[in-house]
């Protein structure tokens, strides 16, 4: 990922910042310039908690260019507790039986390695929520 683009995305990638519409109280991730509901402009920044549940998941066996070194890897759609769905990679899934509805939380991990540009791109992934006993699950 090009450096200026990575710089522009830092709020969303590091802090899960989306946007909130003050006119109709809806929240969005990724951030939006215009509220699709009430068409208000100038939406404010809203940082999501990073907690949610797994809406769906897939294991990528045939990866796009640049992701072969981590394949196969799991990706998911997560229903954030504030409402929006977000699509992301899943982390720490080894030995975990993934299930729709299981609780997950955001973690910051390597999204793209340093191979192409000489720097690592960090960003959000989601991992199964750990129980005190160390196993995943509610």
């Amino acid at each position: 990922m090009e450096l200026p683009r990575y710089h522009r995305l830092r709020g969303a990638y590091y802090r899960l910042e989306g946007s909130a519409c003050s006119a109709c109280d809806r929240r969005f991730f990724p951030p939006r310039p215009v509220c699709p509901s009430c068409k208000s402009q100038g939406l404010g920044t809203f940082a999501f908690s990073g907690r949610g549940t797994l809406y769906s998941w897939s294991r990528v066996v045939q990866p796009p260019h640049g992701f072969a070194s981590i394949a196969p890897y799991d990706v998911g759609m997560v229903r954030l507790e504030e409402g929006p769905l977000v699509t992301a990679q899943l982390a720490d899934t080894e030995g975990v039986a993934l299930e729709i509805g299981m609780p997950v939380e955001m973690v910051t991990r390597t999204i793209q390695d340093a191979e192409e540009h000489g720097y690592i791109v960090y960003g959000y992934k989601f991992r199964p929520l750990l129980r005190p006993g160390g196993t995943a699950g509610p």
Binding site: Q62, P64, H65, V75, G76, M77, L85, Q89, I100, I111
Partner: protein
């Protein structure tokens, strides 16, 4: 708006054309369409293509094609709407001819994908997704469809093998189409044993990487009798959009752009789903067939798998889909696929579909979907 008809069609076989460039394929398909029409005049060219910049190293594609075909100095534009580009190019031609701006407009869909290794093509296809919030995270196009498929299976208590009839139907029909790429019939067992791409999506859920070009010549219906072949009327031409990112939808299993473009098309053509004799669906993945059949009103929510299991999507069924193989069986040269669907629609309506002919077909629908349901172009054609 003037009524518009398709007066000529042409296509190259869909294949891995290692000895043919994007220019060669374009010239062949256009020459075939012009021969078929028997009309010399061309006023404008609309080229549907998704990835010429990325995979063929060529933009300004429409100028290249106009030049190569000896059509200079006519207006020539590339139309891009991801995998819906081919359908969108006919839509552009219908607007141009319908409005009276042009009389004879050529539509070309062309894509050249097989010069590149699979991971590069996988990345290129992901350009139709959200670059920052899907593709950059390694979420391939197959993965987006895998996410949809698993959710659908969860909500409707379906098994992966329940999707087999779509792939089996596509290959059975492709075997009857001399221009199709995958002409070997498959069984439900083959489907289940196929290698995984993005779980639960496997190879036989997915349309293949390939090359091809298809072309149509469009004219006002009032002029259409000048051609050699029986004209086919464009009864509806529509386009609708939804969020670029799959996750930003209220319900990802409801393909609203597909539903909207279909509803607009039914209104324009003054028909209902039951009046459609066959449907060239955008079966890029089996789950896409399911979601589009439900969005277009051919099946209620959660019932498209039943439709397929009962054989109703077969050539002899009440809603035959992908009659000449669809994206799965004919092959999916992405920006060209919409044009192939429309060429096949015309062949069906002229009674020239050979062994794949849907008997007595007079109204056909073709629908191209770009992205994960984010743009849909629907055409209804009538004999």
């Amino acid at each position: 708006m003037r009524e518009v008809s398709i007066i000529g069609v042409g296509q190259t076989p869909v294949a891995e054309h290692w000895d043919r460039s994007i220019r060669d394929l374009s010239v062949d398909a256009i020459a075939a369409a012009r021969r078929d029409a028997g009309v010399e005049r061309v006023d404008a060219l609309f080229v549907g293509n998704m990835l010429s910049g990325e995979l063929a190293g060529q933009e300004n594609l429409a100028t290249l094609v106009a030049d190569a075909c000896g059509l200079l100095p006519i207006e020539a534009l590339k139309i891009e709407a991801a995998c819906a580009s081919g359908g969108a190019a006919l839509r552009a031609a219908c607007l141009a001819v319908g409005s009276g701006a042009h009389d004879y407009a050529l539509v070309l869909g062309v894509e050249k994908m097989t010069d590149h290794p699979t991971d590069s093509v996988t990345s290129a296809l992901a350009l139709a997704a959200d670059a920052d919030y899907e593709a950059a995270h390694g979420i391939s196009f197959a993965a987006l469809n895998g996410l949809l498929m698993r959710r659908y299976m969860h909500e409707h208590k379906a098994r992966h093998e329940d999707f087999a009839p779509f792939s089996v139907n596509a290959h059975r029909n492709a075997a009857r189409n001399p221009h199709a790429m995958y002409r070997t019939p498959i069984t439900a067992d083959d489907f289940v044993r196929s290698p995984v791409v993005a779980d639960p999506i496997n190879i036989l859920d997915s349309a293949g990487i390939c090359d091809g070009a298809a072309a149509l010549l469009v004219a006002p219906s009032s002029e259409a009798r000048r051609g050699r072949r029986p004209p086919v009327r464009v009864a509806a031409s529509t386009c609708a959009t939804d969020t670029l990112g799959l996750a930003e939808r209220r319900d990802p299993l409801v393909w609203q752009a597909v539903a909207d473009s279909a509803r607009l098309a039914y209104d324009q053509a003054r028909v209902k789903p039951k009046d459609i004799d066959f449907f060239e669906a955008h079966d890029a993945f089996t789950i896409v067939s399911v979601l589009t059949l439900e969005a277009c009103g051919f099946a209620d929510r959660g019932t498209a798998l039943k439709l397929a299991a009962e054989g109703r999507i077969a050539l002899e069924g009440d809603i035959p889909i992908c009659t000449m193989g669809g994206l799965k069986g004919r092959g999916h040269p992405v920006g060209a696929s919409g044009a192939y669907q429309l060429v096949e629609c015309v062949l069906q309506l002229r009674g020239e579909a050979g062994a794949a002919q849907v008997k007595g077909a007079t109204i056909g629908m073709a629908q191209s979907v770009g992205g994960s349901g984010s743009v849909a172009v629907t055409h209804i054609l009538a004999a």
